[in-house]
């Protein structure tokens, strides 16, 4: 069995991950495992363990990469990799780009549709939301990510039809 990454050496490190009921297996050679930091279980990214393999890397591929720091609380990408947790509510904005793919892979959708605090439940900023969604839709089409585009299209449609707004429980 060859390593999944370099496809040259014999794989000696075997990782198994359960993802939504599917078993994913990754086989690595010792060298690639070392590069990924998997040879030493103590340094193995907890974010990866908690959130699925590749989570930490996905975050790092966000715009500013590993050096990104939350202006509100000083939390860094590296901390996230270590703990799999964020530092404060603002981190969601700071690391938004890296989180997007992560949230998409672990949740049913990327937009909250449930309960909202009454006090904060002022008339939703429909215009702003529609604009943002429209932008994401254009980007998805440009990236030929049609699956995502369809999801966004439906979200826009839902927002434009007030009768289909989810009513408060």
């Amino acid at each position: 069995m060859l390593c999944d990454i370099c496809k040259k050496n014999v794989a000696k490190v075997h990782l198994t991950q359960m993802d939504k009921g599917e078993t994913k297996k990754i086989d690595l050679c010792e060298e690639c495992a070392k590069v990924k930091g998997i040879d030493d279980p103590t340094s193995f990214s907890l974010a990866d363990l908690l959130l699925g393999l590749g989570a930490a890397q996905e975050m790092e591929q966000g715009a500013a990469g590993a050096g990104l720091r939350c202006p509100a609380c000083g939390f860094t990408q590296a901390e996230f990799k270590k703990t799999g947790r964020l530092g404060c509510a603002d981190c969601y904005r700071t690391f938004a780009e890296g989180l997007e793919g992560l949230l998409k892979s672990m949740h049913k959708g990327t937009r909250h549709v449930g309960k909202a605090p009454q006090a904060q439940h002022f008339s939703p900023d429909l215009e702003g939301q529609l604009k943002a969604l429209q932008r994401s839709l254009e980007k998805a089409v440009a990236d030929e990510d049609f699956e995502q585009a369809a999801v966004l299209r439906d979200q826009i449609k839902r927002l434009r039809e007030p009768s289909r707004e989810p009513s408060a429980p």
């Binding site: 009921g21 947790r85 964020l86 509510a89 949230l103 937009r111």
Partner: protein, 366 residues
């Protein structure tokens, strides 16, 4: 008030019954919430955690639903108290390990429990006996709505309630149920079932949650996704799955009795034999045997015994519950002796299993 004086005995709490509680032990709905403007507990410095506790604790205490509640800082609880709370499934193991700035508010019948500065500023949960997810959700929804008038939650229209771990963001809800599935285990169907449940995006875990063994054939089933779905959708989906699991377990019991009755009675009889006669027994063995005793009760092998006996012993034979009342720290060996003494004593009143049990009052048996 001391926690020990506040906590009702396991027997008292188990008196309550609920729908399907033959198989479904409990329903739980937990919400994760954080305060705006303060770092999440895991990243906050101690003064920030203390500040969050000082804001949250009085707000929770002042709620009518929490009248007469036990409220304390984790610092005030001994490690034994905390362990007891874990064994009673009231707090997480993680919360038990926390100190500075963490707290707990618990209502008198233990149906509402708020952990402060666990992984999130607020982890509030409603507990019910049997299959009562909707009732549990209503209770915690009300508590949350009352609390949001007093506290400023970190919430984004896009992502919902913002939580320390991205796996909880959105609704911040975890709906979970504890099920006793001995027949599915004996019939070797359990792995198949777990795989099927996993495929629906639900997690199956052991007795004490994440990363724990399914001791005593007790499994915890819960949702994993929290974003992009409403609370009621999540709850109803889980409810459907649980109803099916209950049915599968009942069917497996029926099938086992029909095809492998001797095997089942052998397990039940041996479990009784050991529990009623051992002089030293580990916690793990106890739980696994109590599961079989409980199955025996369900199948009518112990006509005069209440099902809650097994459940009560399940709790009172845990390490911290045994340690209670002793000043000196007991060793594991000492606990094994003590546990066996207690089991022999309690099972003295329980007669030998009747196998096969007298014809139950099934309509078909007339």
């Amino acid at each position: 008030m001391k926690l020990d004086e506040f906590l009702p005995s396991p027997a008292a709490t188990l008196k309550h019954s609920g729908p399907h509680d033959r198989i479904m032990l409990s329903s739980r709905v937990r919400l994760a919430r954080n305060l705006r403007g303060l770092p999440f507990p895991g990243w906050a410095k101690k003064p920030e955690r203390v500040k969050a506790l000082e804001l949250i604790r009085p707000a929770v205490e002042s709620l009518p639903a929490m009248a007469g509640a036990f409220s304390g800082s984790m610092d005030d609880l001994t490690s034994l108290d905390r362990q007891i709370l874990v064994e009673r499934h009231l707090i997480s193991r993680e919360h038990a390990a926390r100190s500075g700035g963490s707290g707990l508010v618990l209502n008198p019948d233990l149906s509402l429990c708020v952990m402060i500065n666990e992984e999130d500023h607020l982890r509030m949960q409603a507990l019910r006996h049997g299959l009562q997810l909707r009732a549990a959700w209503q209770a915690i929804d009300q508590l949350d709505s009352a609390l949001e008038r007093k506290l400023d939650y970190a919430f984004s229209r896009e992502l919902g309630y913002l939580t320390a771990c991205p796996t909880n963001v959105g609704t911040g809800i975890r709906v979970s149920a504890m099920l006793h599935l001995p027949a599915l285990v004996l019939d070797e169907q359990i792995n198949q079932i777990i795989t099927a449940v996993n495929k629906l995006g639900l997690a199956v875990r052991g007795l004490y949650g994440e990363g724990t063994e399914a001791l005593g054939n007790v499994f915890q089933v819960s949702n994993q996704m929290t974003l992009g779905e409403t609370e009621t959708d999540i709850l109803e989906r889980l409810h459907k799955v649980l109803a099916q699991l209950i049915e599968h377990e009942e069917n497996a019991r029926g099938r086992l009795l029909e095809k492998k009755a001797k095997m089942v009675y052998n397990h039940v009889g041996r479990a009784y034999g050991i529990l009623a006669n051992a002089h030293s027994i580990s916690s793990k063995e106890t739980m696994n045997l109590l599961s079989l005793l409980r199955l025996g009760v369900d199948l009518g092998c112990f006509p005069n015994v209440d099902r809650t006996l097994a459940e009560e012993l399940f709790m009172t034979t845990q390490p911290a519950h045994l340690q209670k009342g002793f000043v000196e720290k007991l060793s594991a060996d000492q606990r094994d002796l003590l546990r066996a003494d207690m089991l022999r004593e309690r099972l003295l009143q329980v007669g030998r299993p009747v196998t096969p049990p007298p014809a139950p009052d099934k309509p078909s048996a007339n």
